[in-house]
């Protein structure tokens, strides 16, 4: 019984990893690829480690497997968020089919001058995040 569970978990986990890498190769821009890489690969590695735990049927191995899974579940979103923020700040272009860029609109609204008169002083030079979504050029 546990042999079948282990085999099924191994196959399912490897399939999710293959899906993650397919998304990595095929999706059109960095942020979609980041989503594929983070979610699918976390599920895949969790299934593979659980398969190993079912295969060995040992308390020490199970503890290690659960520990690594918990670590991945905690750190994968954090790492993906950091990369996405850095990439947006650097100016990685979005896919040309993207229909909304809320971070750009929010930044533009924050930079509006005060309503009681024009802004004084020189106009600040444009930053990488100042052009919307797909019109940007990466400074990297």
């Amino acid at each position: 019984m546990s042999e079948r569970v282990s085999a099924a978990l191994l196959i399912v986990g490897a399939s999710f990893m293959l899906l993650a890498s397919l998304g990595m190769l095929r999706l059109p821009d960095l942020f979609m690829r980041l989503q594929a890489a983070t979610k699918a690969s976390t599920l895949g590695v969790a299934c593979l480690l659980l398969g190993a735990a079912f295969h060995f049927q040992d308390l020490a191995v199970t503890t290690r497997a659960v520990l690594v899974i918990a670590f991945f579940v905690l750190t994968a979103p954090v790492g993906a968020h950091m990369i996405a923020r850095a990439a947006y700040a650097v100016g990685v272009p979005l896919w040309e089919g993207t229909i909304t860029d809320e971070l750009y609109e929010r930044r533009r609204a924050a930079k509006q001058p005060a309503p009681d008169g024009p802004a004084e002083g020189p106009v600040p030079p444009p930053e990488a995040g100042d052009t919307p979504g797909h019109g940007r050029r990466c400074r990297c």
Binding site: I11, L22, G44, A52, T75, G79
Partner: protein, 96 residues
């Protein structure tokens, strides 16, 4: 080599190793292709996770639970590497 006395675990582990190997290759294509530096960072991050999964499958294939320790270490180091790369990217973008 005969295929009659293969157990279900052997077949599953062989398939899993082949699939993760193919996944590593596809991710490596994205790592080489780019086109920007953050793309390569994401691909490298995914390759670390894939390596952890491959080590887990290999531990089952070799019947050696000791091999799961390197997987733990690789998970820790991979996260540190990703964070370091992200901070480096952000700082470099701000300084220019």
């Amino acid at each position: 080599m005969s295929f009659e006395n293969l157990s279900m675990t052997d077949v599953a582990v062989g398939l899993a190793l082949a699939m993760v190997g193919l996944a590593l290759f596809l991710t490596f294509v994205r790592l080489v292709w780019g086109p920007t530096l953050p793309d390569r960072v994401v691909a490298l991050d995914l390759m670390g996770v894939l390596a952890v999964g491959m080590i887990a499958a290999y531990a089952v294939a070799m019947d050696q639970p000791v091999l799961l320790d390197p997987a733990t270490v690789l998970a820790l180091v991979g996260f540190l590497g990703t964070v370091a790369f992200a901070r480096y990217l952000e700082r470099r973008g701000r300084d220019e």
